[in-house]
Amino acid sequence: MAITENLDSRELIDPGPDRVIGPGHNYETVTDRISEIVYLPLKKTPKKWYVGAFIAFCFVNLLVLAMWVLFAEGVGIWGINIPIGWGFAIINFVWWIGIGHAGTLISAILFLLKQDWRTSINRFSEAMTLFAVACAGMFPILHLGRPWLAYWLFPYPNSMWLWPQPRSPLEWDVFAVSTYFTISLVFWYCGLIPDLASMRDNAPKLWQRKIYGILALGWRGSAIHWHRYQKAYLLLAGLSTPLVLSVHTVVSFDFAISILPGWHTTIFPPYFVAGAIYSGFAMVLTLIIPLRAWYNMRDLITLRHIEASAKVMLGTGLIVAYGYAMEAFFAWYSGDKYESFMYWNRITGPYGICWALLILCNIAIPQALWSRKVRHNIKLVWIISIIVNCGMWLERFEIVVTSLTRDFIPSSWGTYIPTKWDWATYLGTLGFFMFLIFLFVRLLPSISIFEVREVVHHEQHMERAYEEKL
């Protein structure tokens, strides 16, 4: 097996922007390439992995500390007040759940559209979705004040004979987010089953074989099993597609169904969904670019994947820009003085600097991606993706904070300043997310092996057809 070879000593070529896989691969080499990352002995794991995982783990501890203090002291440790009841908790909830959306888009929507560049990055993006939704789900629960009573959100027969209010978008959120997490998990695991069987059969050690064997559920690759499997996978993709659109729509309803200026607008659902995919692709790029460099996967995650993701980012970014323009237009066109004041305050008020940065990060800088030279410059794409992540976070900040600080009457105006515990919780979830990502790439095949085999088969077919033509 190729595991004993040193990963760094091999020369791996990025086949450029036209191909999804490097030259010279067959079924066996792709299996070895992807599984050897997991089977690499601890000593040969890249040092960067250890450093990154350690830093992320420190932030996980920060999260635990922040939660501990929160449970002991209550939400008063955060910067929220009356009237600004929604601070970092809701900002981060919306931001994280948006990041998750790109994973489902890649795995479900691009699957239905038969995009070949989806294959090498879908498993990784699905994992990203799961972890991002896990982070997102924490915030509303922590924000409850009495998080240990979170189960009251679900309709279950209780001794008080009280039921949740199903007309409220906040209750819709409970169903949307929990369904989203469950279905993402199912979809991810369904895709993993055949690969876990490969891991079982390729394992160098008996205990590894046992663990992956249990997880693979005894998958043996029977033709009839594959037939049902493909049907189930297709149906899951078909179900996830409207699901992912519904989740951020429901999240936007949390705002849009209220009557607050700046929130009560019909542009919110499509603009939130586009923003979600925008930030999600930014996060995919932020993560896969270092990953492919550290693990030398340039032949499997090629320039084609990066360029296509950058194009999706550019496209969804333009939809978001349209959303901003429409918000401004309606603030003026509605003739509503509260609405137009809110928008003017957003630009010139105390949080105006955030607005300026938001326009810079989300609209101005990403326009550089129109240029092919920029899209082919991987470092630049990586920097832009981080800028977009920041921009999208600022957007959520703007939406939540500016509307709440300037209500209808000046007597109910207020100021919101996040405290160190707000930052600690936010940075803590970032660390938690990164730590899970580090564990995932180390413990599970981060590229779908059987789907890459299909790509290899397709490529071989094409080559043969080409040779016959010659």
Partner: protein
């Protein structure tokens, strides 16, 4: 004759297995085995191969039907639950709005539909495939671990009425199969 004797002394046989190098060869072999009258057989591949299940005579894939039924149950259950909560269990007058304000129930109804249908897609697929299954005779074949890596296998099972040990091995060799072996049960 002596061959026959030894084989009949084997305790139990699951079937006979042949190895192939490419999906095309496997599909071709399955088609020919089906034409030769074999019905109780299975093919194994490290990735989905189009037309392989059909070549084995597999027609009834009921996953979609299960998912449809589960989706309908999810929709009816979700909507019914909300109607029951707001009209029967806990009728609560909020600002004079009707108890049965059904348009507000659509988002949750949709989520329940997707939840039940999605879970059923995975679990009905696993159940009909008989998974999880801790033991299966095909794993007794040493080369079979390649079935999840790069090789393609056809296994004619001993429960097939046409299964006769020496003949079936010759038949698999004729199909172009390599490493033809008996699979102990």
């Amino acid at each position: 004759m002596s061959d026959q004797l030894v084989l009949s002394e084997l305790p139990k046989i699951h079937g006979a297995m042949a190895e192939f190098d490419s999906p095309e060869e496997l599909v071709e072999a399955c088609k020919r085995a089906y034409e030769a009258g074999f019905r109780r057989m299975d093919a194994y591949a490290p990735m989905p191969v189009s037309g392989l299940a059909e070549a084995l005579g597999f027609k009834k894939n009921r996953v979609a039907l299960c998912v449809l039924i589960a989706g309908i149950c999810g929709a009816a259950g979700g909507f019914g639950l909300l109607e029951w909560i707001t009209c029967v269990a806990f009728p609560h007058n909020v600002g004079g709005r009707p108890f049965n304000s059904w348009p507000a129930y659509i988002p949750i109804t949709f989520e329940c539909t997707v939840l039940l249908a999605g879970l059923t897609a995975l679990f009905s697929m696993l159940a009909m495939n008989g998974l999880p299954q801790p033991y299966h005779p095909v794993f007794n074949v040493e080369r079979f671990e390649r079935a999840s890596i790069d090789k393609f296998f056809l296994c004619i099972e001993s429960s097939d009425p046409q299964f006769r040990t020496p003949d079936v091995i010759d038949f698999l060799r004729d199909l172009g199969g390599k490493e033809v072996t008996i699979v102990p049960a």
